[in-house]
Amino acid sequence: MRTEIRVGGLGGQGVILCGMIIGKAASIFDGKHATLIQAFGPEARGSAASAQVTVADEPIGYPYVRRPDVLVVMSPDAYTTFVPTLKEGGSLLYESDLVVPDKRLPTGAKVLGVPATRLAEELGRRLVMNIVMVGFFTATTKLISYEAARKAVLDSVPRGTEELNLKAFEAGFAYGQRLVSGEDSRVA
């Protein structure tokens, strides 16, 4: 089985790190195959950034993501750019305080929002919003295991920041779990 994921947002939101952690969780800690392709503008902040992650049970010959099964968007621009590429029946995970899903969604898309920035701010640092998103991704897609994602977060963040990053992961995970166990999600 092969799953294509695209993560899109703005520079400074940790888009690439989010994609990298998902890929690391899948490949190193869950024993699957994964590839990552990153794209960003020359500016440090505010320019578009995106990551293409492919996760598969078999070795991956073609790493580019054309029609993602899962689209994670953290900015309105990323939504506008990438939502036309989302596969029919695919999943849209979005930053619900920044992005408003609309009619451009493909048929049957599963739509799940999380106020990742707000949750990160409540923890004390906006900087960890991408880790909130990793937790949310883990709970809602079940493409990577909870344990693998947690280990990948710990393995990827700077020393000394582990506790807060884990709190961010748990906050996103818990939010996602509540969504998938309840009926808060919408299907386009």
Binding site: G9, L10, L17, G41, R45, G124, L127
Partner: protein, 196 residues
């Protein structure tokens, strides 16, 4: 999350476990405070010999305003540290630390180990800055703080009075614990310098 217990092997060999304080520690902690030389107790500011102090500490821990740790060796408490975090006001980003180590365990790195746990906790709470007060001639304590990134921010002249009535300077130490987030900021920049 804050680890339950951190094992530390001190310079002279003893093994010490540092962990968050729990209600069951109340008696042992009270014994520890009573055993401290009066001179050392003065530095803790509160009257730690009163059992009410430990109860107050537990209440503040419950409220999320205090994060006390104890260092345990052979079932006895031999060190104590606490991180205070204000929940209201203009300095909610600043934590305050205090600690004490039993005389027989001093100069073995235990103070540094306790302090390290408190700094980690502060970072986990997203605090930006830590402050501590040390009397000018507490050389060991000053060294422990400086080793973990604290620097002298101010000196209050003749601010404390020891048991003999002698007045001494109080050093205010500060540590910008938010600096660790600079690495995280670089990681989330989504920026490749060579691409610009």
């Amino acid at each position: 999350m804050w680890p339950d217990t951190t094992k530390v092997v001190l310079r002279q060999g003893p093994e010490v476990h540092i962990r968050p304080m729990v209600a069951a520690d109340a008696e042992a902690l009270h014994r520890f405070f009573l055993a401290l030389p009066e001179e050392d107790r003065l530095f803790l500011e509160d009257d730690v010999t009163k059992p009410a102090f430990v109860q107050q500490l537990l209440a503040e821990q419950e409220a999320g305003r205090a994060f006390p740790v104890v260092a345990e060796a052979s079932g006895e408490i031999v060190g104590y540290g606490v991180l205070y975090r204000p929940l209201f006001g203009w300095s909610t980003h600043v934590g305050r630390v205090r600690m004490a180590v039993a005389r027989s365990f001093q100069r073995q790195g235990l103070g540094t180990a306790i302090l390290r746990e408190l700094v980690r906790k502060a970072q986990g709470l997203a605090l930006d800055k830590l402050v501590a007060e040390v009397v000018e001639d507490q050389v060991g304590a000053l060294r422990a703080f400086e080793r973990l990134g604290f620097h002298r921010e101010a000196t209050l002249g003749n601010h404390v009075q020891d048991l003999s009535g002698k007045k001494r300077d109080l050093v205010l130490l500060a540590n910008d614990v938010a600096h660790i987030w600079e690495h995280m900021e670089a990681l989330v920049a989504d920026f490749e310098p060579s691409a610009g």
